[in-house]
Symmetry: C2
Subunit: 262 residues, 2 copies
């Protein structure tokens, strides 16, 4: 097994870091590797926003579903899906006027442009994670940056065709574990198909979640009102307050994105 495969296979999220800042050399290496990520038509439809200001870090620890350890991250990078840069360029080139002259519709960014720019941003983000990992730097994704769009726009001066699709916290891990215990993934047969998608049924889920179902059933004091592992998981994850807020925030972001004129 080559070194890179080893790194991909042993990576796990790290949320407890030394206070040591990331060295200048390591930071440069991460940013360079990030910017070498594949990007649609070499358009680089993303922006990397590094959060240095401690006050902003403190605020993010609240706006991103109250996770206090975010404030202590030595390095925070927000990945922005960015169509604004290209449309500001198009504006400076008179593209709208060209379209009017030639009787063409001037396409402004819509959902598809949000998706394709998010592809660029996330592919770049994962390059940052792998680069960091190879340098002994731990990382953690924070999807909650999609919540509270109004607050994050104001904090970071984000225009409407820019969307914070993910955030990464980095730091040197507090305890270096040589052979970390990895979180088990689903069995391959439930996530890896050939030629067509297959919906799963109760028997599949019983096997797929066997250990979690057993753990739920063996709990001495079950959470009140829920009868099984699925109900419990929905309650604290998919149906939880942060998910409701993310739904509201993303809906608002897309509405504004679709309606913006420049």
């Amino acid at each position: 097994m080559n070194e890179t495969i080893k790194i991909l296979n042993k990576r796990r999220s790290v949320r407890a870091w030394e206070t040591t800042p990331i060295t200048e050399h390591h930071l440069k290496t991460i940013i360079h590797a990030t910017m070498r990520a594949p990007t649609a038509g070499n358009q680089m439809l993303y922006t990397i926003l590094q959060v240095d200001d401690q006050k902003k870090k403190d605020k993010l620890a609240k706006t991103c579903d109250n996770q206090p350890w975010i404030a202590k991250a030595p390095l925070i990078l927000i990945f922005l899906s960015d169509m604004q840069r290209w449309y500001d360029f198009y504006a400076s080139c008179g593209v709208k006027e060209l379209c009017e002259k030639q009787n063409l519709t001037y396409r402004t960014p819509k959902e598809s442009d949000l998706m394709i720019s998010s592809c660029d941003a996330l592919i770049a983000a994962q390059n940052a994670v792998i680069a960091a990992e190879s340098l002994g730097i731990g990382s953690c994704y924070i999807g909650d940056i999609m919540e509270n769009i109004e607050i994050h726009r104001e904090m970071f001066n984000l225009p409407k065709w820019v969307f914070p699709i993910t955030m990464l916290c980095f730091g040197y891990p507090k305890s270096k574990i040589e052979n970390p215990k990895l979180t088990p993934r689903f069995d391959e047969k439930y996530v890896y198909y050939h030629d067509e998608y297959k919906r799963l049924e109760k028997e599949d889920f019983d096997e797929m979640f066997k250990k979690k179902i057993e753990a739920f059933n063996n709990m001495e004091k079950k959470p009140s009102g829920v009868d099984n592992f699925g109900q419990q998981f929905y309650t604290y994850k998919t149906g939880a307050d942060f998910s409701v807020e993310m739904e509201r925030s993303v809906k608002k972001a897309i509405k504004d994105w679709n309606e913006a004129k420049s």
Copy 2:
């Protein structure tokens, strides 16, 4: 510079492959490393769909903006943003009934769930790319899989809470180049900010696109009707037919996703 950083830094898209199939060992290694990618709350909100059927490959070469070389890819993986698996599980657990009993709103997947599952899918996809690259296997992203949603749903039996966010073609490169010429990226100062987003202005774009603008100005025969590089680029990319189709297709996919009941 460690091996992993070297791999991240020298990776470029490959679209011309040997006909040799990917070895079983390499394929297993790629899938395993893919499934070790970070995933929100260990939910694995994605499915990897390998396309083996040559007829389907031939069709993808048409439905993904007519790129004939897709049909020749020894390995094709479609990455699906997948909320269906979890909601089928919730249905089997009576989560909806629990919500009714407790007078809670039963949240079905909305735009935010599409975004968070797309994060999972893309992070996994980039692990596949890096793993492949480390094994000497070239790859190319095809964002055009987001087009023609109705056709792709039928081809692959995709339910409404599953969305093909990206596709990857893999193969052993036809010509092995030791020091490949890399596509230049934008200068760091235009894509990497600290603490707040900055919109660029004409002077910035003049510098950022200097070489492309010069190349346009030096063209003997300019494309008819366009006056500058920005207008040219918009015409063949952002405003082109495939972008119009992607806009339509993604809008339809999101509408169906939001309205689906199960």
